[in-house]
Amino acid sequence: MNALSRFAANRGALIGLALIVVLVAIVVLAPMLYPQSPWRMVGRPMGAPLDGSFLLGTDTLGRDVAAGIVHGARVSLLIGIVSTFAALLIGVPLGAVAGYFGGIVDDAVMRFTEFFQTIPSFALAIVLVAILQPSLPSIVLAIAIVSWPPVTRLIRGEVLSLRTREYVQAAITVGQSTPRIIFTQILPNTLAPIIVMASLMIATAILLESSLSFLGLGDPNLMTWGYMVGAGRSRIIDAWWISFFPGLAIFLTVLALNLVGEGINDALNPRLRKEVRK
């Protein structure tokens, strides 16, 4: 059974994938579904769902909650992917260097990594965003800075075991340059764990961004799910829909990404899966 068919046989992973396809479709179709700015006051304030022409109701200023969710999807996904990519850009080279060279280099890199791991990541993210002023780049940067250490540890471990393999030893013997060995022999073989980790990191990044926005540390000019939950929170008694639907959107997206990540993991490491299930 190859990886693809193993993934296809995993029902949870398929459900997750379906949810992500829907999400991507929403992001792509957002300009057609809701061409107006989600900040526009379009209806009666605090209108209930299905009351009037608004599917998910309106918020305290009469803004369309559904429009907010559709436009917020784009921001959430964008921040999730970009900040994960940024974290990989920091984490992968560091891990590769530490694992390949070992010794003092390894010690230095790992102590540096541990330094970041000992600081509570959410607190660090809050501090970074507060200092840099809340904006899209500062939020991406903050999420990347708090999420790269696990990547480094993972890659280091992989490289540590890969570099003792015969084909790497052979590459060294034929005299390939060190960067070439790292990039062409070792890193391609770490791709599978990186993909699994990245899919889970996107979920974490979306949660982190939502938490920041919830606390009022989001980009004030971007409609995001976390912002919507935060802004509707104080009205939850008389207008539950303002914070419920964006909260549901966060929940489903994070769940879907986790299911897909698990699915990929199981598909790529069938032996590991069996051992765990035993």
Binding site: S37, W39, R40, M41, P45, T60, L61, G62, A130, Q133, P134, G216, L217, P220, N221, A231, S234, R235, D238
Partner: protein, 518 residues
């Protein structure tokens, strides 16, 4: 049958007797009041933060009180006379007044407070005493005379408790005022005495048994409670833990819900002296913002009624100019700006605005202000103006505003009863100074307006002042130094059986002298 009628009449008479007895003021009782945030200190002459004034205004007293029409009423001064030419004010003091520590109060305390103490420490009294007052002298133990350099109409209004509290000479004379240990246990002449301050929790005031006014106060004690979260404050009122929510203690959207509870009363009165006026401060130094036509376009673009009705839940009035309609010398006959995006777009286009982004420094005073900024950003987007909101915390806002480091921001200032005291400071060019967010931080400079403000402050009669202030309002409403948004309402919510909480122009700040609990 007849018998029963008599009986019914008897019962009715009895009921009537009981209810009318209940109408009379009842002595005793304890009241819990929520005030937010916790004040830094209670020595009112050294600190005039809102929460300080709310509590300390019941400990300290000034020469005068003000009713809701801003007319002076006796307080430590039982009567006063103003000379024909408006330059000599003679105050006759109450007799038999003692400080909370038992020392007698006299004209010496008044002279010391106004001439020495407040001249040195008080930001609002200092400019008045330095610029307007020639001498402050004791005539006899119960009489004080102020002689002015020229007539100064607002002088009496400056005698409000927070603006000119009378402090005990025997405690402060010759000491370093700011570090005097007695600042922690304030001694005043007011109806309530300081008892205890449990930091982070409450301030406890008790009845002053030797208060100079017979029969007052009615209440035995007041607890001023500090609860850090707005929702928790609302909850404390709902559960009956507290009796009074002072203005601003709960989010404005909670006010209708809380006022519909049983035995719950709400009033917007008691803020006439302050009449907080909210606007968008414009930094005139920054590019297109110095353009009058552009500002007029922005004013037409803002849906101010939406702001009041939706963002502020219907509380407040829409202002026409720099002077609040709740205070003196207001004139409605000025150019007005209705919500008209079409007209706004034309004016903005004609002004030469090229689509450059304008930064809006958000005011970090809670959700209502954030929502308001979002609504206005959308109003501006509708007419093609690109407003980018920048968020910050309170120290960040104060710092950036004081240092002129902004394009636009919200602000709201107290009017303090008279335009010469509370209004002029935001528009006159001599007040373009760094270091305070309440100066003319936008850098608005208009010679004509400067002249009108200066002349109106010292014009001898109210008619002449009105004439000059009317001209000033018409001029500024045309020029728009700032974008006036709302005359804010700060509703006070209280249990209906706590009576007479708000009877003056400063509401709870000195209201507990007359309050009683049924």
């Amino acid at each position: 049958m007849r018998m029963r009628t008599y009986l019914a009449a008897g019962v009715a008479a009895l009921v009537f007797a009981v209810t009318s007895a209940a109408q009379a003021q009842v002595e005793g009782g304890s009241v819990s009041v929520v005030v937010t945030p916790e004040p830094p200190m209670l020595m009112q002459a050294l600190n005039q933060n809102g929460p300080t004034n709310m509590i300390a205004g019941n400990i300290y007293e000034s020469l005068l009180r003000f009713n809701e029409a801003l007319e002076p009423q006796p307080s430590l001064a039982q009567s006063w006379e103003v000379s024909e030419d408006g330059t000599v004010y003679t105050f006759k003091l109450q007799e038999g007044v003692t400080w909370h520590d038992g020392e007698p109060f006299s004209a010496d305390d008044v002279v010391f407070s106004l001439d020495v103490f407040l001249r040195e420490v008080h930001p609002r009294w200092r400019p008045i005493v330095n610029n307007q007052v020639e001498t402050i002298e004791k005539v006899d133990d119960n009489t004080v005379r102020l002689t002015l350099k020229q007539p100064f109409g607002p002088l009496l209004l400056a005698m409000e408790t927070a603006s000119a509290p009378i402090v005990p000479k025997h405690i402060y004379e010759g000491t370093d005022y700011a570090s005097n240990p007695m600042n922690n246990t304030p001694i005043g002449t007011g109806p309530f005495k300081f008892e205890e301050w449990n930091r982070g929790s409450y301030v406890h005031l008790v009845k002053n048994e030797d208060y100079w006014m017979d029969g007052r106060p009615y209440l035995d004690e007041i607890y001023w409670r500090f609860i850090p979260d707005a929702a928790a404050r609302a909850f404390a009122y709902e559960t009956g833990e507290v009796d009074v929510l002072t203005g601003g203690a709960v989010d404005i959207f909670d006010v209708p819900r809380l006022s519909e509870l049983e035995n719950s009363c709400v009033t917007s009165k008691g803020w006439e002296m302050f009449a907080p006026h909210a606007w968008i401060t414009i930094n005139h130094r920054n590019g297109i913002l110095g353009n009058q036509q552009f500002r007029q376009g922005l004013m037409h673009a803002i849906d101010r009624e939406f702001g009041r009705d939706v963002v502020w839940n219907g509380f407040g009035e829409i202002p026409t100019g720099p002077i609040s309609s709740k205070t003196r010398f207001y004139d409605a006959d000025v150019p007005t700006y209705d919500y008209d995006p079409e007209k706004a777009r034309e004016l903005i286009e004609a002004s030469g605005y090229d689509g450059e982004p304008i930064e809006f420094l958000a005011l970090p005073y809670g959700e209502t202000w954030t929502r308001w900024a979002e609504a206005i950003r959308q109003n501006f987007a509708d007419v093609g103006v690109d407003l980018q909101i920048v968020t910050t915390d309170v120290p960040g806002w104060t710092q950036r505003t004081s240092e002129w480091n902004f394009d636009m921001t919200f602000n709201f200032l107290y009017q303090l009863g008279d335009p010469a005291i509370g209004v002029a400071r935001s528009y006159i060019s001599s007040n373009i100074i760094k270091g305070s967010p309440f100066a003319n931080v936008g850098g608005y400079s208009n010679e004509e307006a400067d002249k009108l403000f200066a002349a109106a402050a010292i014009a001898p009669s109210d008619e002449e002042r009105q004439e000059l202030y009317s001209q000033m309002q018409a001029l500024l409403a045309e020029d728009l130094p700032v974008l006036w948004l709302l005359e804010l309402d700060y509703p006070t919510i209280h249990r209906c059986n706590v009576k007479n909480v708000v009877t003056t122009a400063i509401g709870v700040n000195d209201g507990f002298r007359d309050a009683w609990k049924e």
